[in-house]
Amino acid sequence: MGRIITITSGKGGVGKTTTSANLSASLALAGKRTIAVDTDIGLRNLDVVMGLENRVVYDIVNVAEGAVSLEQAWIKHKRVQGLYMLPASQSRNKNAVSVNDMKRIGQELKQKFDYVIIDCPAGIEQGFQNAIAAADEIIVVTTPEVSAVRDADRVIGLLENASKEKLQLIINRLKPAMVKRGEMMSTGDVTEILAISLLGVVPDDEKIIVSTNCGELAIFNPASVAGKAFKTIARRLLGEEVVAPRPVEASVNGAGVMNKLKHFFFGANDTHPA
């Protein structure tokens, strides 16, 4: 029996799809049969982030309606052995799939995969209810910003009410240099407020855009600090104890002369991502 992990956030655009794609691929690379499921019906995106957009034929709505089998709808990744993706429908609306459909699909996928990673749409409506329905575990993604953390808190409240007990947090797009200058909330600030266990921290990384431009995943770009963080997080999911790597050099670049000076005088900072 596999593990179903839903990636959710409340607020939109904080990195759920990026996280789902990179964690799924990392798990597959670790030898785990993994499927990434896009439940953002009407706003399909996981396909382009994973570079699979040209191969979509059927989608999750076709499966929910019983028109096609899961095997017909999922797409096998060519580069990563053991990695699959089940696309969302682009033309239908969120009510085309019900909580019961999702439970049934989840149960079936669990029999066939070690990991089922569900990419949840933004918001707390039907799409969210669907995405969490079958989840054994939840990863809440936030950025260190007031509105994102507030929405994450709301979602955590809803998940607790829905008796989802295994909740973990990923803080995405952290800028260590800003944290150091006191201009961005730190990992400690966010975890203190949300009070769920921290799975990992992903630094803000321009190279993510380069990756998505090409439908490549950040984990395959050796220069991507975010890619590195996603790989670390996947290892934690697999049960390894991974300590945070050395502070990310990129975080000091472009942080202005004063910070470079500080860096020179006082050495690397202690705001470790990942």
Partner: protein, 95 residues
């Protein structure tokens, strides 16, 4: 915090601290927010229980929530006339 951070941080507070404090305040409200219908339901049920013992009018019951830093208080204000039994007694006396 190191020396230069200290020097360059004007008047000791930073925008990240402001963010954290604002979040804490807004979350106190968010976390205690109750469905709007709850106060109505409470008023109806309280009325039912209390009127077994004393005479109250629905319109007189005030139910509200008072928020403080760390806890909330349910404030129920029920003006009533007199216990039912006394009312009955009084009635017989005046007859």
């Amino acid at each position: 915090m190191n020396l230069l951070d200290f020097i360059f941080r004007r008047n000791g507070s930073s925008s990240s601290e402001t963010a954290k404090n604002r979040l804490k305040l807004v979350l106190i409200q968010d976390r205690s927010s109750l469905p709007a219908s709850l106060l109505d339901t409470l008023r109806d049920e309280l009325l039912r229980v209390i009127s077994k013992h004393v005479k109250v009018d629905k319109g007189d019951i005030e139910v509200s929530i008072s928020r403080a830093q760390n806890y909330n208080t349910l404030v129920v204000n029920v003006p009533f006339r007199a216990p039912k039994r006394q009312l009955r007694k009084l009635a017989t006396v005046t007859e």
